[in-house]
């Protein structure tokens, strides 16, 4: 296992966006999006530290964004309660969806980028048809009793986590909803690449690994400090490690099975690393802390 090779900072992007609320790799990991408190979204090439485009049009902080599978569109959710579909090349908003009653906290595309799924503080999850000109949400999920903190979309499932201590998995093929009571506020939920496990960031400074099918707890990862931050988590490309930021400014790597902390990356001092995004296929990690985004990876010394 060459996971043990320590990661180090390759690049540091100073985004000049006041605070970076979310950093996201695009579909193939070649580019990244940063969502800022300055109401703008920036498209970067993180490897060359190149700012490619800035997308302005939101009326409030942008809280989440996602790129489409063909990298031609960006969908973003903002604290101005709207979801905007952007054209990557022109930088113009193509559509603006105003269906949420409150800030849109998270947003994801489906596999073919034909639909966007957004979660909001108004406790709802909305399905937006980005193909047609329909302005209303196609479907609204109102099961959650509190803010939706994260949304994950697979080919036939939608996983939501909520402040009401539940995660909910909507299976489109079977037509059922599995809700799991976690007991703590879930600030972020992600799925392992094999689609069998949830990784839930809980507000009690733990990360819990759940089995998707049975809803049983497989593992718990601790050591970091979540305080009151909506920390995100990630899993590396081989599903071998679980990564999470911390309020202490560090980034933790845990071994998925043994739940031992294998690595700690220090992003900053005492400033919470709220958002992070792992490269879909390679060993790269993007972490966002305040105004700064860092790209972590294995420096290519050989070449």
């Amino acid at each position: 296992m060459n996971d043990k090779i320590d990661l180090s900072t390759i690049e540091t992007l100073s985004c000049k966006q006041q605070v970076v609320r979310a950093v996201r790799f695009n579909i193939d990991g070649a580019y990244c999006l940063t969502c800022g408190a300055d109401k703008k979204i920036k498209l970067w090439n993180p490897y060359s530290k190149l700012l490619l485009k800035t997308y302005g049009g939101h009326a409030n902080e942008v809280l989440d964004a996602a790129g489409s599978c063909d990298s031609s569109h960006i969908i973003s959710g903002s604290a101005d309660k709207s979801v905007i579909l952007w054209d990557v090349t022109t930088g113009q908003p193509l559509r603006r969806y105003r269906g949420h009653a409150s800030s849109v906290t998270c947003i994801k595309y489906n596999e073919e980028s034909t639909m966007a799924v957004s979660g909001s503080i108004d406790n709802t999850v909305c399905f937006w048809d980005v193909i047609s000109r329909r302005q209303e949400p196609v479907q609204v999920l109102k099961d959650a009793k509190d803010t939706i903190t994260s949304v994950q979309v697979t080919d036939h499932e939608v996983l939501t986590s909520s402040v009401d201590c539940h995660t909910r998995l909507y299976d489109l093929r079977v037509g059922k909803m599995l809700s799991d009571y976690i007991g703590h506020v879930v600030t972020f939920a992600s799925l392992t690449h094999d689609g069998q496990c949830y990784i839930l960031s809980c507000a009690d400074s733990t990360i819990k690994l759940f089995d998707k099918d049975s809803g049983e707890l497989l593992n718990t990862f601790s050591g970091h400090d979540s305080k009151d931050y909506m920390l995100e988590n990630a899993v590396n490309e081989k599903d071998s490690h679980i990564i999470s930021g911390s309020a202490s400014g560090e980034v933790f790597y845990w071994d998925l099975v043994s739940s031992t902390c294998t690595q700690k990356l220090v992003h900053s001092n005492k400033k919470p690393v709220v958002s992070l995004s792992h490269h879909p296929t390679d060993n790269y990690l993007l972490t966002a802390c305040e105004d700064e985004v860092k790209l972590w990876g294995v420096p290519k010394m050989e070449e």
Partner: protein, 896 residues
């Protein structure tokens, strides 16, 4: 002497007699005219008018047009002495002397020049009737001050306005001249002429000395044209003076003095006949008021008139005998009770207390009700102070007298009943609605939606109390109501229960109590809130989560229905068909009526799943089914399914069904298991020896993998799924399987009424015939029923053939086909070919437990095979996708 002769002779005939009519001649209206009469002639007997072609109006030189001379055009002549002159013709050249005469078209006679004519601008002022009526203002302004020549001449002569022209004269001379006034017409009588002299006498003394005065100006005496034929000075009774002699100032020119009294000849209808006696005042004005219009004693009228005159009546006025019709008097508007007069100018400060607002709505009755009374009317449960009291046993039937009272009070279509009226009156309840409890208290205030049918109502009440008991109860009613009716009724009950639950209940699932006040500045406040509330988790769940026993307890499974469009976009076959209500056809229904809400709510969540379970729900939704495990009810389900099946008009096999979905799902989960790297890692690194025990070291890789899955399941999955893996199982499990297989099939069912060839088939009868067989404890599955049905109905459809083939194999379910539909011609060919080939063509995942003779090993083999196949497929697909994506990516990379 004959009379006739003498008569003739005595007549003098004037004019020409008319031609006597012939006997049979119809007299024509137009008189016969002699040709000579038809022409106008002039003085000389010449024709005056000619036809248009013969010169027209007095045509020709000297009216010579009609004559042989005719027109004599002027010939062109030019000589040395007399050059040809451009002859200028004037209109006069063509005129006769007649035309130039006084009455001709161009009269020639002496006339005062316009300037001297004395009357300026003879044309009448034409007023525009444009936007500003009347004489144009501009015209008034620009009116020329133009004096006539006479006035100018007079001025030259020393005339001034008010002064006559001529030498200055003394006063006396002036007086004299006045007396010897030149008068046109009759001379005025000397009595009349006296007056001015008398008046001027007083001033005589002033002008004793010789002063010269200008002579008096000439005052034209304008005579008024007499347009009537009355006598001089007479005016007829005018209607204008009905009110009396108002024209007092009107002076008659005919005034005479007779016998010392002044008599002026004026007024109306004066004069006395020659033989009439003198009247007192013969020349007094007479008008209509002097006449008596009323019957009765004239003397009385006179006296009354005199009396009236005596009392404060201005002369000329008469007191009205009848009072004026009184104007209807309206009472002033009533002031509001709490009206305080306020000066108009004063404005109320906004900081003043608004005491008046409190009483504003008091006039309306509904505001005078207390909160409890209103709640009672709405059918809400009064919320007791202590939450423990809320779980009162539901009182339903015992309080009928009160109920009737209440319903009488309401007297409406709806009859709400509040059984807790006593408590309403007794307790003073808190103002808020308890959300947590209110939803469950639907039973207490029973709304009677089925009041018309007491039996049904009682069943409904029973349903409300305990839904499961009703299912059993229904068994007893089986003879009275048909299966279909009972099912229908259940749906009705569900809807009614949803619709008629109190408002607090309906709202209960939408709101939660805030434990802390909202803090907008700190968004993480909400986090703390919810963790206290546990997100509506049950206490058991909370307990389980505390001890870390996640799994079955903490998991809750509920039905959820993705929208059709969502399914489409996610490339997932739509879970559908099980909807009982017809699909919206085309136009969006945007009515926000309560009924639309009802319908949608019924097909939501629990109610939906219930319906599904009733009309053949899938096992995936069978958490509801677990409740009614009683065997009869299960059979009933099967019957329901039968009915459902009967309704199917389509070839259900060809449609993608939910069983497919489920199978594919399980398949995908199997795939997922295979890809399960996380779990692999887990297993590798776990110290559990179980693994090595169960899995021999010598097994091939595939089997190892499979066993790993088994192990994984053994560790992580619930027991129920373990059971699934066990192949040789008891009949009880078989039943479960039936559920598993059959129910999903019905989800996709077309529930539309039979159409086309199915229209005339009485499925109910067939069904009834089928039922005993089913109940006879035959281990036949319902599925078989379904398959054989088309045969019974003698449909020569492909699926029936297919079914036949399948019955022979008895294994493979056509419904479990995964992937695109097999073309029908191919199917037929397959049919004719060996059955095994069918299997090959439909390699689809047979349910392991379905095959009785299969042992676990073979099943595992099949699993492996399927997996590899599907995997290949998947890979291909994904490759395709990838290549596509790459293309698109490369495209868009350029964009980046």
């Amino acid at each position: 002497m004959s009379d006739s002769d003498s008569d003739d002779e005595n007549f003098i005939l004037y004019g020409t007699p008319l031609d006597p009519f012939e006997e049979d001649e119809v007299p024509s209206k137009r008189k016969f005219q002699q040709p000579a009469d038809q022409y106008a002639v002039d003085d000389h007997g010449r024709r005056r008018f000619h036809g248009a072609f013969t010169g027209g109006f007095s045509a020709g030189f000297g009216n010579t047009v009609g004559t042989p001379e005719g027109w004599t055009p002027s010939s062109f002549r030019s000589s040395r002495l007399e050059k040809a002159q451009a002859s200028k013709q004037k209109p006069e050249d063509f005129m006769d002397e007649e035309d130039r005469s006084e009455f001709g078209i161009a009269p020639r006679h002496m006339q005062t020049n316009h300037e001297f004519s004395g009357r300026k601008r003879p044309r009448a002022p034409r007023f525009h009737d444009g936007p500003i009526p009347g004489e144009p203002v501009l015209e008034q302004l620009v009116r020329a001050v133009h004096e006539t020549a006479a006035v100018k001449m007079l001025r030259r002569m020393g005339w001034k306005e008010g002064q006559g022209v001529g030498d200055r004269v003394t006063h006396r001379e002036k007086k004299k001249s006045k007396e010897q006034h030149k008068v046109y017409g009759c001379y005025m009588p000397p009595e009349m002429r006296q007056e001015p002299t008398q008046s001027s006498d007083s001033s005589d003394s002033e002008f004793e000395y010789e002063t010269l005065f200008a002579p008096d100006d000439y005052e034209p005496y304008i005579l008024q044209k007499k347009s009537d034929r009355f006598g001089l000075g007479y005016k007829g009774l005018s209607r204008h003076s009905v009110l009396g002699n108002l024209g007092g100032d009107e002076r008659s020119h005919l005034v005479m003095k007779e016998k010392g009294k002044k008599v002026s000849i004026r007024g109306q209808a004066f004069g006395v006949g020659a033989f009439e006696a003198d009247d007192e005042d013969i020349y007094a004005t007479q008008d209509m008021s002097h006449y008596d219009f009323a019957l009765g004693n004239p003397a009385e009228a006179k006296t009354s008139k005199k009396n009236v005159k005596a009392i404060n009546v201005i002369e000329g006025f008469v007191k009205a005998t009848q009072p004026m019709p009184s104007v209807p008097a309206y009472a002033p508007p009533a002031l509001p009770r709490d009206y305080t007069p306020l000066a108009a100018g004063t404005r109320r400060s906004r900081f003043e207390p608004t005491a008046a607002v409190l009483h504003r709505d008091q006039g309306l009755g509904r505001h005078e009700l207390t909160a409890e009374a209103r709640g009672a009317l709405l059918g809400e449960v009064p919320v007791p102070k202590t939450p423990i009291d809320t779980h009162d046993p539901p009182q339903t039937t015992s309080q009928t007298p009160r109920q009737t009272e209440m319903s009488k009070f309401l007297q409406k279509n709806i009859n709400f009943i509040s059984p807790n009226t006593e408590t309403v009156q007794a307790k003073s309840t808190p103002d808020f609605i308890s959300i947590k409890d209110s939803g469950k208290e639907q039973v207490a205030p029973i709304f009677k939606p089925f009041a018309g049918d007491p039996l049904k109502q009682s069943r409904y009440e029973m349903y409300l109390r305990d839904k499961d008991s009703v299912m059993l109860e229904r068994e007893r009613d089986a003879d009275r109501l048909s299966e279909w009716e009972r099912n229908r009724e259940m749906v009705e009950f569900e809807q009614a229960a949803i619709l008629y639950r109190p408002l607090s209940g309906a709202m209960g699932d939408r709101f939660t109590h805030a434990s802390e006040p909202d803090d907008a500045l700190n968004p993480l406040c909400a986090v703390a809130k919810s963790s206290i509330n546990y997100g509506l988790a049950t206490p058991e769940q909370v307990e389980a989560a505390k001890i870390g026993a996640y799994g079955l307890i903490t998991r809750k499974e509920s039905a959820w229905r993705p929208e059709a469009l969502v399914c489409k976009r996610f490339n997932v076959p739509e879970l559908g068909g099980a909807r009982v209500e017809p699909k919206k056809d085309g136009k969006p229904n945007v009515s926000y009526s309560i009924f639309s809400y009802l319908e949608s709510s019924v097909h939501d969540k629990e109610s939906f799943t219930k319906e599904q379970s009733k009309f053949g729900g899938s096992k995936s939704l069978n958490f509801e089914n677990k409740k009614d495990t009683s065997l009869p009810s299960k059979e009933k389900h099967n019957e329901v399914i039968n009915i459902e099946k009967d309704k199917v008009s389509d070839i259900s096999i060809d449609k993608p069904t939910t069983s497919q979905v489920i199978v594919s799902n399980t398949n995908s989960s199997q795939e997922g298991n295979k890809r399960m790297t996380v779990v692999d890692l887990f297993l590798k690194e776990s110290e559990k020896d179980l693994q090595t025990k169960q899995q021999g070291a010598e097994v091939t890789e595939t089997i190892e993998k499979f066993d790993k899955i088994d192990l994984y399941k053994a560790i992580f999955l619930s027991d129920s799924e373990n059971e699934d893996i066990n192949d040789d199982d008891t009949t009880a499990k078989d039943k479960d399987d039936n559920d598993f297989i059959v129910k999903p099939k019905n989800i996709e069912r077309n529930t539309s009424p039979p159409r086309g060839i199915f229209a005339n088939i009485d499925f109910d009868e067939i069904n009834a015939w089928r039922r005993p067989e089913n109940e006879s404890g035959d281990n036949k599955t319902v599925e078989n029923n379904i398959q054989t049905k088309p045969e019974e109905t003698k449909e020569k459809t492909i699926d029936s053939i297919n079914d036949g083939g399948k019955e022979m194999t008895g294994e493979v379910e056509q419904e479990e086909t995964y992937g695109p539909k097999i073309p029908e011609n191919l199917k037929k060919r397959l049919e004719s070919a060996a059955i095994i080939e069918i299997d090959n063509f439909k390699p689809i995942f047979t349910k392991k437990n379905k095959s009785d003779d299969d042992n676990s090993l073979s099943s595992s083999d099949s699993w492996v095979e399927i997996k590899t196949k599907s995997k290949k497929d998947k890979k291909k697909k994904s490759k395709k996708h990838k290549s596509k994506h790459k293309k698109s990516k490369s495209k868009h990379k350029k964009k980046f």
